[in-house]
């Protein structure tokens, strides 16, 4: 339970871990947006190459990466089935047809693409969280959002809120564990029974948890005041993000990948060849 708190961070201290978190976030955004324009198998091949290479460079075990996909496995299967059976083709092209359901080569290929897209959508950000601590992400977001200060958006407060939330999650988890044990010791039944009863059984856990969270918040507010929060608008920073040569290399590598992917979309039509090939075999 406690491991959730630090996300999925996998501390291998690799080259990828040391990249500027802002760059990682931006590249990840580009990665996610671009994937919606990729609709060829060659494009997905590029994507998988990127994931494999980055995973190796990040020294993260593939097992962990697959585990992150496991979370959306149900979604992947569901979408694949829907796409296989509901892909609309003229009846004579269908391999199998019943009522409004039909299976066709186009449908199968389309479903495969959808599944790949979801898997890639999960793997990319997972890799980001494997190689970046939540604190780094907070710092990076604060820095990336800093232009919003011009329109009086409280970027700094947002970052402090995120930082405190990250700090408090493990503490509150521990507290939840403790309260649950204490109520179990008084005979509370928290793990069995029907859904309604189980929700009702959580009241003795949730109320003390809320009470304690408020009590902590009060003391925290005093502590923030005592530590001169908001004393000056010219706040300084202990941690400063500075891009290095590593980031340049990463940017170039990513650029090569993006260029390759985009070229593959606009120029070759391998998919048509694959399609024809399968048709020929049948």
């Amino acid at each position: 339970m406690r491991n959730i708190a630090f996300g999925q961070y996998y501390p291998s201290g690799s080259w990828v871990h040391k990249l500027d978190p802002r760059l990682k976030i931006l590249l990840m955004l580009f990665f996610v947006v671009l994937i919606f324009f990729v609709n060829t198998f060659v494009g997905y091949a590029f994507y998988f190459c990127l994931i494999v290479v980055s995973t190796i460079l990040a020294k993260v075990p593939f097992r962990s990466l697959l585990r992150s996909v496991k979370g959306v496995l149900f979604l992947v299967i569901f979408i694949t089935i829907i796409n296989v059976f509901f892909y609309a083709v003229p009846e004579e092209q269908a391999l199998w047809h019943w009522w409004i359901l039909s299976v066709s080569v186009e449908g199968l290929l389309h479903a495969a693409k959808m599944a790949l897209r979801i898997i890639l959508l999960v793997m990319g950000p997972a890799l980001l969280t494997f190689s970046t601590t939540p604190m780094e992400l907070t710092d990076a977001l604060e820095s990336l959002l800093s232009p919003l200060k011009l329109i009086k958006f409280p970027v700094r407060d947002l970052a402090v809120i995120m930082s405190i939330a990250l700090r408090m999650i493990p503490t509150l988890m521990e507290e939840t564990d403790r309260i649950m044990l204490a109520q179990k010791a008084r005979g509370a039944d928290l793990d069995t029974g029907r859904l309604f009863n189980r929700v009702k059984a959580l009241v003795p856990v949730l109320i003390p948890l809320f009470v304690s969270a408020f009590r902590r918040a009060e003391e925290l507010a005093l502590a923030l005041d005592s530590r001169c929060y908001n004393a000056t608008p010219n706040r300084t920073r202990y941690r400063v993000l500075r891009p290095t040569w590593r980031d340049l290399v990463a940017l170039l590598l990513f650029g090569a990948f993006a260029a390759g992917t985009i070229l593959s979309i606009v120029t070759f039509d391998f998919d048509a060849m694959i399609y024809e090939g399968i048709k020929g075999l049948l």
Binding site: R2, N3, F6, P134, M135, V160, S163, I164, L166, R167, P170, T171, E174, E175, R178, I179, L181, A182, Q183, K184, A185, R186, G187, A188, D189, V203, P204, I207, P208, V211, S212, R216, E219, L220, L222, A223, L224, D225, S226, R227, C228, Y229, N230, A231, T232, N234, R235, T236, R237, Y238, R239, V240
Partner: protein
């Protein structure tokens, strides 16, 4: 030179019905470089005073001046100058940290003050080195002990370079080792010129301080040196405080025909003085009670958390012990020694991995009925008041019996008995919300919640943690009474060796998941310095009797000051 002055300060909290006076014409002037201990029982106005010192609160009437600045002035510049000059550390270190990495947390204050980055780095290093936590700078706070966390909180304040450090009951939640660590840091800082104002209800923290101030119902009731405070025995106890044991013993010297000590906390002087008496020989050792019927039988019990993962951690290994009916057993050991794991085995909150365990007639190897076990073995966790949840006290206390499916008509009786057993008036409290009670009352309600299940064995995890001395004594007296009446077998986890000496029939000492000693307190404390390595402090009476033994006195190891005084009385008769 006075750095902080309070001039006729009053403070009232605005509550719904009537204003509550927290400070009542208090005047105080604190000199630069002093180490001041501010004492008082709960509700004496200590914490209000702390918040007035750096302007978190401003007085209702009167004036607080910090280095010439009036704290009531409503100008940002003045407010932040005061806050960075007078830093406050609060009670619970967990609630004072804002970042998940220690060095980032320390930097929070300087960041807020706009300190340039190079200087900030120096300050973070200096602050962490001052509290001895520099090597932990890249850690997260989760794995640290209470004492270490509180030192981090102190460093977070130090990084703002305050001239005055105020600690608002910052030692209350710590175990004796943690308190020692924190006090050492405070004295070191004070020697380097920092003014320290330590708010506490532990009178022994006065030892080594320049000055002691006692608050009573919002008024300054005493202001002088610790020595003066300790020498007026009757006064000290009337403030709801408890004299340190060494002072209690020292105050009896004149009645033994010995000269009074100039410093009643000077243990060395006390021993020297006692050694001028003729050596005493006492043959009859106090007799220990005997017990026969076994209720808990633990055999080679072992437990490993998260086995076969990188987080694997052995919490218990090869623990064997039997506990007979009617004993009050103290369970002793540092944080992480396996105490909690062992206790949670006994009521089935942790399922046994290896070894054998039999509790009452329930064998944990034979598909035990865990529910039955939990009702037979009542377990009170640390700070049990944090688990109160229901609308009324009566309903909350009834939670356990209701879960046990006790017939409705019997529940009222159980609740009434339980509340009476914890010293509360059933008719007065039953319809009140548990959240509106005082801290000590909440603790009693929580204890009643477990007693109402009529357990045959009671397990208490530090039932007195965080209470003031009066509250602590009251709870311990209750436990002792239950032990003699409603629930004879009690296991009590405690860090306080004086409690162990005074109340326990037996002590189990755990270290690193192993059962190190299983002895009576008298046998245990006879080991003397061996216990220091375990971080266990031999109580004063035992320490002194061991010293006397070394000098040829033939007396048993005394467990309490009263017992030792009894022996010393014999000298006078002889």
């Amino acid at each position: 030179m006075p750095c902080i002055t309070l001039d006729n300060v009053c403070y009232q909290y605005k509550t719904d019905d009537r204003p509550k006076v927290a400070l009542d014409h208090a005047s105080l002037s604190i000199d630069e470089g002093q180490f001041v201990v501010l004492l008082g029982s709960n509700g004496s106005g200590k914490s209000t005073l702390a918040k007035l010192l750096n302007g978190l609160l401003t007085p209702t009437s009167g004036k607080v001046t910090v280095y010439g600045d009036d704290t009531s002035v409503d100008e940002d510049e003045v407010i932040y100058r005061i806050r960075s000059t007078v830093g406050i550390v609060f009670q619970n270190p967990d609630n004072q940290m804002v970042a998940s990495i220690i060095e980032d947390d320390i930097a929070f204050g300087p960041e807020n003050l706009g300190v340039p980055r190079d200087e900030m780095k120096e300050r973070v290093k200096w602050a962490l080195e001052s509290v001895g936590m520099w090597e932990y700078r890249t850690h997260t706070p989760e794995r640290l002990s209470g004492g270490q966390k509180q030192r981090i909180a102190i460093a977070g304040i130090l990084a703002m370079r305050p001239k005055v450090l105020v600690l608002d009951e910052s030692t209350a939640m710590l175990d004796p080792r943690g308190r020692k660590e924190v006090l050492k840091v405070l004295h070191d800082l004070n020697r380097e010129g920092l003014t320290v104002i330590l708010i506490t209800h532990h009178m022994d923290e006065c030892i080594g301080a320049d000055r002691a101030v006692v608050l009573e119902r919002g008024k300054v009731a005493f202001d002088g040196t610790p020595t003066q405070l300790f020498s007026q025995e009757h006064n000290a106890s009337s403030y709801g405080l408890e004299l340190p044991e060494v002072a209690r013993l020292a105050l009896h010297l004149p009645s033994l025909g010995l000269p009074a000590l100039s410093d009643p906390c000077d243990e060395e002087g006390l021993v020297e003085s006692l050694l001028t008496l003729p050596p005493l020989s006492l043959k009859s050792a106090p007799k220990e009670s005997t017990f026969d019927e076994t209720v808990i039988d633990i055999g080679h019990l072992g437990y490993t958390y998260s086995p076969k993962t990188p987080y694997q951690h052995t919490a218990l290994s090869d623990v064997t012990a039997t506990i007979p009916k009617g004993q009050l057993v103290a369970v002793v050991g540092q944080t992480g020694s396996g105490k909690s794991t062992l206790m949670q085995h006994l009521n089935g909150l942790i399922k046994k991995q290896s070894g054998t365990l039999k509790v009452l007639d329930i064998d944990l190897d034979r598909r035990p009925n865990y529910k039955k076990l939990r009702f037979a073995v009542g377990m009170v966790f640390q700070y049990p008041e944090y688990q109160l949840f229901d609308e009324t006290v009566a309903k909350d206390v009834a939670f356990g019996p209701c879960n046990a499916k006790v017939p409705k008509e019997e529940i009222d009786g159980l609740v009434r008995d339980a509340l009476t057993n914890v010293g509360l008036n059933y008719d007065e409290v039953k319809d009140r919300s548990p959240f509106e009670l005082s801290g000590g009352q909440k603790r009693r309600v929580a204890l009643a919640g477990v007693l109402a299940m009529r357990p045959e064995i009671l397990i208490l995890d530090e039932p007195t943690a965080g209470l003031d001395p009066m509250g602590k004594q009251a709870i311990l007296r209750l436990v002792d009474e239950w032990h003699r009446t409603v629930c004879p077998t009690v296991l009590m986890v405690s860090h306080d060796m004086e409690t162990v000496a005074r109340y326990a029939d037996r002590a189990l000492v755990l270290s690193g998941g192993k059962l190190l000693y299983d002895l009576t307190p008298r046998e245990l404390f006879a080991k003397g310095e061996e216990l220091d390595e375990l971080g266990l402090e031999v109580p004063l009476a035992a320490r002194i009797s061991l010293r006397l033994q070394q000098h040829g006195w033939d007396i048993p190891v005394a467990l309490t000051v009263e017992e030792l005084l009894g022996y010393l009385e014999e000298v006078r008769h002889a």
